[in-house]
């Protein structure tokens, strides 16, 4: 079987069309980024996320209704995987001040259910925990384990034998679980995933991600400049920017548009972008490698024709290598599961746009640069 055999298309003559196509895609991205912004996952935003797996199918609107009433403000609720999975997420780090008394009240009710009338003295209360002092060590120990068995996160303040203080955590996740447990008693759930990211960690991860992407672009620029002439390296890296920016724009544009596709930028998505940076330059390298070879053979041919000829001759392999990789990403997208969906989507779209740019954009950029500088391009 042969595809694209002996094609003689004047790609560069039509480059204005592709500039327009790229510019439109780019603009759509920019507008969406400006208007809608990016949706970051909790890796970068910080916050809490729990994924619950219910025993029976669950009505997401009902869960949303329950959770919205527990005073945590706007909480994000989504399905996860099938119809029994629910993801609950909030950017809040701690229980808000106005809910705090309710949470504490719940704890104290639970304590009094176990030991009616036991005197409780609050010795310390922070945003995420409350510490009680109890009359004696034995009740403290038994209360710690009894409350723990009920799902509260309790602990002794010290392991000293005469310790009378008990600390109870009042985190977001605990509060959500506790409420759903009572409100949805007929459909029990278990927690299959729980993430909590502090605000500082989120900020650091964001910085690291940006640095990593910039570093990889520089590394590729340096490597290509070393292997090819600078102008080709420059063209290739510009094409890379083109790929990354358009894919990023798509993220902003498509967020929440396709049902079941959760396009949030998290750590794995950054990994996908970095892979994209490394991979989408491949096809460009193949074209430029052929340009270099043809330059040696056809010494007098103008750059315009040289580039066209090289693109045409390498067309089949550009499409094929992109195609097989695309196959792998489609499989991942369909069968890879919920956790990898956004990752696979980034690669899927990135490979398409990468193949497009190495055919239509990278060489055109080299040509523009060469005609501007009016120098003869050599290897």
């Amino acid at each position: 079987m042969r595809l694209f055999e002996n094609i003689h298309i004047d790609w560069l003559g039509k480059r204005k069309i592709f500039y327009a196509v790229s510019a439109i895609m780019f603009l759509i991205g920019v507008v969406n980024v400006a208007l809608r912004g990016f949706q970051f996952g909790i890796d970068f935003k910080g916050g809490s996320e729990i994924v619950l797996q219910f025993d029976n199918a669950v009505d997401i609107a009902q869960v949303r209704n329950y959770v919205e009433n527990i005073g945590l403000g706007s909480i994000e609720i989504k399905t996860f995987g099938g119809e029994t999975g629910v993801m609950v997420r909030t950017e809040l780090q701690n229980i808000p001040a106005d809910i705090y008394p309710r949470v504490v009240n719940n704890i104290e009710t639970a304590v009094h259910d176990i030991y009616p009338g036991i005197p409780l003295r609050v010795v310390d209360s922070t945003e995420s925990s409350i510490t009680y002092e109890l009359p004696n060590a034995d009740t403290t120990n038994s209360l710690v384990s009894k409350l723990f068995a009920q799902g509260y996160q309790t602990g002794k303040v010290s392991e000293e034998p005469d310790n009378r203080q008990m600390v109870v955590n009042v985190g977001i996740a605990e509060w959500v679980k506790e409420n759903l447990k009572t409100k949805m008693a007929d459909n029990p759930f278990k927690v299959i995933k729980e993430d909590h990211v502090g605000p500082k960690v989120g900020k650091e991860l964001k910085q690291d991600a940006v640095v990593a992407i910039i570093f990889s672009l520089i590394a590729i620029l340096v490597y290509l400049a070393f292997r090819f002439k600078f102008i080709f390296a420059f063209g290739a890296v510009l094409a890379l920017f083109h790929d990354v920016l358009i894919t990023l724009g798509l993220y902003a544009a498509l967020y929440g548009v396709i049902p079941g596709l959760n396009l949030e930028i998290d750590l794995t998505v950054v990994a996908a972008f970095l892979t994209l940076v490394g991979y989408s330059v491949n096809d460009t390298v193949i074209v430029f490698d052929r340009v270099r070879e043809n330059m040696k053979i056809h010494k007098t041919m103008p750059l315009f024709d040289l580039l066209n000829m090289s693109i045409n001759r390498t067309m089949s392999r550009t499409i094929l290598t992109g195609g097989t990789t695309l196959m792998a990403t489609i499989v991942l997208l369909i069968f890879g599961g919920e956790v990898l969906r956004a990752f696979s989507f980034t690669l899927f779209f990135g490979v398409i746009i990468g193949t497009y740019s190495s055919i239509f954009v990278a060489s055109a950029l080299v040509l523009e640069y060469a005609s501007k500088s009016k120098k003869k391009v050599q290897f």
Binding site: E159, V201, S216, T275, I286, D289, T325, A328, L332, F335
Partner: protein, 631 residues
């Protein structure tokens, strides 16, 4: 064929090595299947005979069964260590990043924290949350802005600020070490298999606990102050008499109630008369906890695989009934040696009531004794503690004092004489490392190491299972799609490429196993992606060969120049991906690193398959004059 001999040997060696490295993974899978079958059956039996059993007790029972299976087959454990490790996202578990709460530490070690102090601390903490500056620096800066000297709260009155700042920084640093040791100790005792506790940067500790389902409980392990106690070790006669009683209770239990053992046999003389099997039956306790018959002490030696079992037995009600209620058994925190490749722990019988707790310790320092040039630890106590210490040591000369942190014995030195003045010297450490550890432990009981959780990720085992399944399915489907396409498009040459693809996957897995690397879900994605990218090299070569054939060259010449001319494009395009793989590995953590790793290994493996294996097959086919179709 002679000219290919060398290449063939290399390829066969690579395949052989990969298979050899992967064999333990397969074996481990089989072992675990076997174990889980037994456990399922056993759990059914238990629930049938005792329907009211709590989930907790059931899992305890099952763990016991699992331990005994593993103890009976030591190869299970060695196989497991050689198998490809699964990341937390695949096997379930939790990863927690802790940061030492410097603000709290400063508050706790300050001499007389007044209102100004508390204000400044909370200000400093708020600022530290948004900048990279350390809490100590911010704290010192605000204090100096307010014109308050640090010596008001720390050190002595003559110390200048810079000296105090550097001391506080050391304290904050030490707190991380202390926190790590406390956590390690607790995690060891909790019985998590293969925990990982690592320091990250200057103030952070990363704890990974695979397979922990009860995350709340695990989280508790990581926080809270540690308890250091000094407890007297019981003398050998007493200890042996208690152990004999325990032994009898267990033996009676073994014999199912109608005990045939004569009551007056003691452990010592029965060893000589009984065969191994009989001994195990009649003296179950001494089988697990071995006593050195010629030793000065009655401390028992326990193999690591028996430790959990013994712990559960010791806490069972009928054994508890024969242990006097003022003593308890505690294990050593660290193994004291190895036997048959297994770590050996010590079991001590100590007084239940501590003589002193760690709060009285003011300082501890590992150092070298100038006289004997061996490692020692110097310990200082406050005046209150010193008085008690002098009385306690005076009354117990030539007895041993166990130093116990959160229930684990770190050292049990002999009391050589009455120690007055509160300065003690602990000898008998094998090296400086051991002495340093004891220093940390002694300080852990006195100084706080407040930590807070700044990142936490946990994955339940069921989600992990689903992910493994999804990953496997995608790998197989991805492989079939790509292989089918290659065969359709390039016919015989495509078949060669598809076969080489199998080896690529084999090599990736083999290298992962060989390097003891961890496979994560993104790692599996990396393998699938590699399958798609690996054939790129084949495509480049085949397209080139087609071109060469078009110019009228022979098959042999076309294959040769096809391979050599495609080389530069293949190398260039793969190196760029490899470069981003390296950066990704640096940037990422856990799962993402797993992806970067498989991506990089995949590139290496696919290049080998395309440039060495596929080429060899082509060369052989050409020399044998076989017909090669390339579509």
């Amino acid at each position: 064929m002679k000219e290919f001999r060398f290449t063939i040997i290399i390829i066969l060696a690579a395949i052989g090595l990969s298979l050899y490295l992967l064999y333990p993974t397969y074996k481990n899978y089989k072992n675990e299947q076997g174990i889980s079958k037994i456990l399922d059956k056993r759990s059914e039996e238990i629930t049938k005979s005792n329907p009211d059993i709590s989930k907790d007790d059931l899992s305890k029972e099952l763990r016991l069964v699992e331990d005994s299976i593993k103890a009976a087959n030591p190869s299970f454990t060695t196989t497991k260590t050689k198998a490809v490790k699964l990341g937390l996202d695949l096997q379930g578990g939790m990863r927690v990043v802790l940061e030492v709460n410097t603000g709290k530490l400063l508050e706790k070690i300050a001499k007389n924290p007044d209102d100004t102090f508390k204000q400044v601390i909370s200000e400093a903490e708020k600022e530290a949350a948004i900048t990279d500056e350390s809490v100590v620096d911010i704290f010192a800066r605000i204090m100096s802005q307010r014109g308050v000297r640090l010596s008001r709260y720390y050190g002595s009155i003559r110390d200048d600020d810079s000296k105090i700042i550097s001391e506080l920084k050391t304290d904050a640093d030490d707190a991380v070490t202390r926190a790590m040791e406390i956590i390690r100790n607790r995690v060891d005792q909790y019985g998590v298999s293969e925990p990982s506790i690592q320091r990250q940067g200057s103030r952070r500790v990363v704890v990974e606990l695979p397979g922990v389902a009860r995350e709340e409980e695990a989280k508790q392990l990581l926080q809270g102050t540690a308890l250091l106690e000094f407890k007297l070790v019981k003398d050998p006669q007493f200890t042996l008499s208690v152990m004999n009683k325990i032994d009898k209770v267990l033996a009676a239990k073994n014999a199912g109630g109608d005990s045939t053992i004569t009551a007056d046999t003691t452990a010592q003389d029965s060893t000589k008369q009984l065969s191994q099997e009989e001994f195990e039956k009649q003296h179950p306790f001494y089988t697990m906890a071995m006593i050195d018959p010629n030793g000065k002490f009655a401390d028992a030696y326990v193999k690591e695989d028996q430790k959990d079992k013994l712990k559960i037995l010791l806490s069972s009600p009928d054994v508890q009934a024969v242990i006097p209620n003022n003593v308890e058994f505690d294990f050593s925190a660290k193994p004291i040696g190895k036997q048959d490749g297994k770590d050996i722990f010590m079991l001590y019988c100590v007084n239940k009531a501590p003589e002193l707790t760690g709060g009285v310790i003011t300082n501890a320092r590992a150092t070298i004794d100038p006289n004997t040039s061996s490692a020692i630890v110097e310990m200082e106590m406050n005046s209150e503690g010193a008085t008690d210490w002098a009385r306690i040591t005076g009354a117990n000369v030539n007895k041993r004092m166990a130093i116990i942190l959160d229930g684990a014995v770190y050292s049990a030195p002999n009391i050589n004489g009455k120690i007055s003045g509160g300065r003690s010297q602990i000898e008998g450490m094998a090296n400086m490392e051991e002495a340093k550890l004891l220093e940390i432990v002694l300080k852990a009981g006195a100084l706080p190491a407040p930590v807070k959780i700044i990142e936490e990720r946990s994955v339940g085992p069921s989600l992990g299972q689903d992910s493994i399944y999804a990953g496997l399915k995608s790998t197989i489907i991805g492989f079939l799609f790509v292989a089918l396409f290659m065969i359709l498009y390039y016919q015989k040459a495509g078949t060669v490429a598809s076969a080489a693809l199998i080896f690529t996957v084999l090599f990736i897995l083999g290298i992962l196993a060989g390097f003891n690397a961890t496979l994560t879900l993104p790692g599996i994605a990396g393998i699938i992606l590699t399958i798609g990218m690996a054939v790129d090299a084949n495509v480049l070569i085949y397209e080139r060969i087609r071109e060469e054939l078009e110019t009228g060259k022979t098959m042999k010449a076309s294959v040769d120049s096809g391979f050599s001319k495609a080389n530069s494009a293949i190398i260039d395009s793969n190196i760029t991906t490899f470069l981003t793989g390296i950066i990704l590995y640096q940037f990422g953590s856990g799962p993402v690193q797993g992806f970067a790793l498989t991506l990089m290994i995949g590139i290496g493996a696919s290049l080998f398959s395309a440039l060495v294996i596929a080429r060899l097959v082509f060369n052989i086919m050409v020399t044998k004059g076989m017909k090669i179709t390339i579509g």
